[in-house]
């Protein structure tokens, strides 16, 4: 992957940039930027409206992205691809349009302690609104979901009568019950890097309760792993364009067509309407039912170029590349700094993505990232929108370095050198 940096114009302007924050957002290749410019310069009309050629061209390009996304994740049909603003909006859409339709008092919603706030808070709020039980699957000390081990605390709840002690000798049977309407979990932790055994979890959960809806936050998975939604067996997955080389302002919700048809609309207004009378309105079929108002047309059009780029390089190659860098980085960190480095998440490199969250000595994550920034190295410091997880890890914040296809071994070495400077300055 030696020439990949050349495809990303930002490296022309910043040749020494060490970008280790792709978990927050990825850099953009030239073909994506060019495609956005093409739309704005050549056919910047609205979609689904004009009969004139420019609008038809825009609509064609727009719907072609839907086809490309559909093929990329092996959806059953392009009608199962809903465009939103981001993964967060996709999850909130589900909490409104699905959650508020099916969740009643006493039902259960299950999520995990390693979720991003966007797959935690909407379910927490919904539970408190309707009087549902909000159950949270815990992790074990190595950063795996605590779903298989015995005699271990596996879950917490918003209902005091359910105590952790009640759940000993646990398996999924004690987490998922006939009353569980929704299981919402992440494919890859944005802090620990843990790749959850989602396919296996879905199979077991559906065995216990065939009526359960399973929502997978794939924001950190789709950019890095080959995802086949039909093989996975989930009912919904969500992800964001901007984390997979695409433009900002575009999220994707994939859902099975028959379920999407049953759900409430999300927002009402332009584009999603069939007919409006004074006393009633009717709505379009999915996916347009969920796409009210003018979307981010140029950005959605350009997303397909990002996917084409990823396909050209190959998701398998991307995963291998990140795995190699992650292994090297963990080895170098531990060998150089020993016990001063505390790395979170699975030790087995096969079970994690290219995300390394750590603490370093007694230095504050903000100071570490500031000194790294002064040396041209971009990492993230804070709780990474995963405060429940950080509380569970008993740390207020971590430093997070993450890799993508444009990172290389030199970036890892610069991170090590940067941390040596941190030690030197703050010691």
């Amino acid at each position: 992957m030696i020439d990949i940096k050349k495809q990303f114009p930002i490296f022309n302007k910043e040749p020494n940039l060490v970008y280790l924050d792709s978990t927050a957002t990825s850099l953009k290749p030239k073909i994506v930027i060019d495609k956005i410019r093409e739309y704005y310069e050549e056919y910047s009309a609205n979609v689904f409206r004009g009969i004139y050629p420019m609008s038809e061209k825009a609509t064609e390009e727009f719907e072609e992205t839907r086809n490309v996304v559909s093929r990329f994740i092996n959806a059953g049909s392009p009608n199962e691809i809903v465009f939103t603003r981001n993964a967060t909006e996709s999850l909130n859409l589900l909490a409104y349009s699905l959650g508020r339709k099916i969740i009643e008092s006493g039902d259960e919603i299950v999520t995990t302690i390693m979720e991003h706030h966007s797959n935690f808070v909407p379910w927490q709020v919904l539970s408190s609104e309707v009087g549902a039980i909000f159950k949270v699957i815990d992790i074990n000390e190595e950063g795996y979901l605590n779903i298989y081990e015995k005699n271990d605390k596996i879950q917490m709840s918003n209902v005091k009568s359910i105590t952790n002690n009640k759940f000993q000798n646990l398996k999924l049977e004690n987490i998922i019950t006939k009353k569980t309407k929704i299981l919402a979990l992440t494919y890859v932790s944005n802090v620990l890097g843990t790749i959850n055994p989602v396919k296996e979890i879905i199979r077991l959960a559906k065995n216990i309760n065939p009526k359960i809806f399973i929502i997978v936050d794939a924001a950190q998975a789709v950019p890095h792993l080959k995802i086949d939604v039909q093989d996975l067996g989930a009912d919904f997955i969500v992800f964001s364009s901007h984390k997979m080389l695409g433009p900002t302002g575009v999220g994707v919700l994939w859902g099975k067509e028959d379920i999407l048809k049953e759900m409430y609309p999300f927002m009402y207004g332009g584009d999603m309407i069939n007919e409006v009378y004074i006393d009633r309105s009717t709505y379009k079929e999915p996916p347009h039912k969920f796409e009210a108002g003018t979307p981010a047309i140029g950005e959605i059009i350009a997303l397909k170029e990002a996917i084409n780029f990823l396909n050209e390089i190959g998701m398998k190659n991307i995963k291998e590349h990140e795995k190699k860098l992650t292994k090297m980085a963990i080895d170098r960190l531990v060998n150089t700094f020993g016990q001063a480095i505390q790395i979170y998440g699975p030790k087995n490199i096969e079970d994690r993505c290219g995300i390394i969250s750590f603490n370093f000595g007694k230095f504050h994550p903000h100071d570490i990232s500031q000194i790294l920034a002064d040396n041209g190295i971009c990492v993230r410091a804070g709780h990474h929108c995963a405060m429940p997880l950080h509380t569970r890890l008993k740390v207020p914040a971590t430093v997070r370095a993450s890799f993508y296809l444009y990172n290389d071994e030199e970036d890892v070495e610069k991170l090590i050198e940067g941390l040596k400077k941190v030690e030197k300055i703050l010691k």
């Binding site: 504050h364 994550p365 903000h366 100071d367 500031q370 000194i371 002064d374 410091a381 804070g382 709780h383 405060m387 950080h390 740390v395 207020p396 914040a397 300055i425 703050l426």
Partner: protein, 118 residues
């Protein structure tokens, strides 16, 4: 400009007025949930002026240095005068160029002080 200058690092390594007063007139704890910084500040007034002040807690270099310098500054100054202090004062006091994201660290001790002055 590098924010980790000697004077800042000196306050970080050897903070002034660190600790807790035994019989304070008032005490307060403030936190920045984003980074987990916590500052506890205790204060004793005399005739409307600050007689003694101490702080403790966990913080980054910037928030610790800011607390150290601010607690030096406030002694023997009137409540009235101190109520007027704002983020511009803190930036000037630290003498470094802080980005938007780090200002919050620098003004956390000021937030504590303002709550003690109420």
């Amino acid at each position: 400009m590098n924010i980790y200058q000697d004077i800042i690092l000196d306050h970080y390594h050897h903070p002034h007025n660190q600790g807790s007063l035994d019989t304070p007139d008032k005490s307060i704890q403030v936190s920045n949930p984003l980074c987990g910084d916590k500052i506890k500040m205790t204060i004793i007034f005399e005739k409307g002026k600050v007689l003694k002040v101490k702080f403790s807690g966990e913080g980054c270099v910037i928030s610790t240095a800011s607390a150290s310098m601010l607690t030096d500054y406030v002694k023997n100054r009137s409540k009235h005068e101190l109520k007027k202090l704002d983020s511009k004062f803190i930036i000037k006091m630290l003498g470094i160029d802080l980005g938007m994201n780090r200002i919050k660290c620098a003004v956390l001790p000021l937030e504590a002080l303002h709550k003690l002055l109420v």
